[in-house]
């Protein structure tokens, strides 16, 4: 070490940290304060529309890892009846390719992310668990109509000028 700058470099750095002491912290206190996630967020679940699904299994084909299991049987009007539709959310990587490829807009990415569980088997979502409910809302990923109805995302950029 040569004190080429006589310690001025260290002093400059100390000023920067001191400035931060008087700036507003950027922390979001999660359980109380929540960030609004992106309108296109790919939450940690899939949402399935029972009415729209025709059982064509395009989603299962487009999945890079085969995380969607779909079993159908022939119905009366020569259509498919979906008997089993299962997604293992502990295996799915939420890449969204299935949602993009669904020709009938019957599959959505979920909007929620608080899906931690104590047991491995609880992560496997069956037909009933994939439907929308109060806690499960679809996100606007690849679904512009849903996207338009969702609130805008909170950005850290907007907190830049905020003083303490």
């Amino acid at each position: 070490m040569k004190f080429e700058r006589y310690g001025a470099g260290i002093a400059k750095g100390m000023v920067v940290t001191l400035k931060h002491l008087f700036r507003h912290p950027v922390t979001t206190q999660y359980p109380e304060e929540r960030l609004t996630v992106s309108r296109r967020t790919r939450g940690n679940e899939l949402i399935w529309d029972r009415e729209r699904c025709t059982g064509c299994a395009t989603c299962a084909k487009s999945c890079p890892q085969g995380a969607i299991r779909i079993v159908t049987s022939r119905g009366e009007e020569n259509d498919y009846i979906v008997e089993e539709f299962r997604v293992d959310s502990g295996y799915c990587i939420f890449c969204g390719l299935c949602v993009e490829s669904c020709p009938y807009e019957a599959l959505f990415m979920g909007y929620g992310y608080e899906r931690a569980r104590y047991r491995r088997r609880e992560l496997v979502l069956n037909k009933e668990e994939l439907l929308t409910s109060e806690k499960k809302q679809p996100s606007g990923y690849a679904r512009p109509k849903v996207e338009a109805a969702l609130p805008p995302q909170t950005l850290l950029l907007d907190r830049d000028g905020v003083k303490k």
Binding site: M1, R5, R40, C63, E100
Partner: protein, 367 residues
């Protein structure tokens, strides 16, 4: 007087606070001095090259996300460029601009982590990396806005990008581009002239120009050694020939130069972003390409300047829906080739500083 000393072997890694993942070095030490070092890879070898051979071209995009997980957008871009080269697919103008915007944002995000982690390895108590992660968060916000994920984007598609940007994206991006140079100045003020950092990094871990070329180093590591070699300039891909930017180079090839080159590259990326925002045309973002691309039989090597260096994808097609061979030219792996020459004779603390200054990502090195 001759004191009998014995060297001893220390395993640094694979679970060590500053080996950036699961890299392992088997270091032979004489007290604090490093006598020999043997890098051990493979703790994150997930067989991506094999997995890709059984997936369709579109399904591989999520796999490329997880190669260099600090620069998923760059990986996506390199891969789709290679496939487009192989299949001869044209990309709409707007998509090209969006790709450049995403790649440059990703470069800033990745360098923020790279520089921050290097400063952390030099012993700064988390402060620089936390400041830098704060700015990285802003970039991740933008990515999340576009594609809904924060780390593994799966955004680029063969023949364009998956979605157009939402309307609030451009104002936010402009705001980011305007404020970012100020933050980069702040990082410089924090540690650029810090005597301790200078003592720790100047002249440490020198990689000479000849050595750097000989070991196939690329990216900031190559440029810090004084080689003006940036794929964006020497072999412009996408639409990089339309933007004006400088290629920062170092002179000594030491840790400090590598750190400075990264910081300067961030500034240049901001410059590219400014131009791209201004010129962004309207129009389609994705050309009509089937989900099941079947490129003609043949082979192609597509490469880009990723944040860590030249990222290349070598694809061999047999006219089926999945590649016959999928090879990644991983800059992280090749940049590590010179690690042994760079660290021998230095102290244990320098090993980690030098290693940090190479800025690798194990997901890419091991694949």
């Amino acid at each position: 007087m001759v004191i009998k000393t014995e060297p001893f072997v220390v395993n640094i890694g694979p679970a060590h606070p500053s080996t950036h993942g699961v890299f392992r070095m088997r270091a032979t030490l004489d007290g604090e001095v490093v006598l020999d070092i043997e890098p051990v890879f493979g703790y994150l070898h997930r067989g991506i090259e094999k997995l890709a051979e059984e997936r369709t071209y579109t399904q591989i995009i999520p796999l490329t996300d997880r190669l260099d997980y600090l620069a998923s957008m760059s990986n996506n871009l390199a891969y789709v460029l290679a496939v487009e080269k192989l299949a001869g697919i044209a990309v709409p103008e707007r998509a090209e601009y969006l790709r450049v915007i995403m790649a440059e944002l990703q470069r800033i995000a990745s360098h923020l982590i790279g520089v921050g982690a290097f400063l952390n390895d030099c012993g700064a108590f988390m402060t620089p990396i936390l400041y830098m992660i704060r700015e990285r968060e802003k970039i991740l916000d933008l990515f999340e806005m576009v594609c809904g994920q924060r780390l593994t984007y799966n955004y680029m598609r063969i023949g364009g990008v998956s979605h157009d940007i939402p309307e609030e994206f451009l104002p936010a991006l402009k705001k980011f581009v305007d404020s970012m140079p100020g933050f980069i100045d702040e990082y410089d003020q924090l540690l650029k002239e810090n005597e301790i950092l200078l003592a720790r990094s100047k002249g440490v871990g020198i990689l000479s120009r000849e050595q750097a070329i000989n070991i196939s180093a690329s990216g900031p590591v190559l440029r810090a050694s004084g080689v003006k070699w940036d794929i964006r300039k020497v072999d412009p891909y996408s639409i990089y020939d339309r933007f004006g930017f400088e290629v920062p180079t170092g002179s000594a090839g030491d840790c400090y130069d590598r750190y400075r080159v990264r910081v300067e590259e961030m500034r240049q990326s901001v410059r590219i972003l400014k131009q791209a925002v201004e010129k962004l045309p309207a129009g389609e973002v994705r050309s009509e390409v089937s989900h099941l691309v079947r490129p003609p039989a043949g082979e192609a090597y597509g490469h880009i300047e990723a944040p860590r260096g030249e990222l290349g994808f070598y694809l061999v097609s047999d006219n089926s829906i999945a590649p016959y061979r999928f090879h990644v030219r991983a800059p992280s792996l090749l940049n590590l080739t010179a690690l042994r020459e760079m660290v021998v004779g230095w102290k244990v603390a320098d090993v980690l500083a030098i290693f940090g200054s190479i800025d690798i990502c194990m997901g890419e090195a091991d694949r």
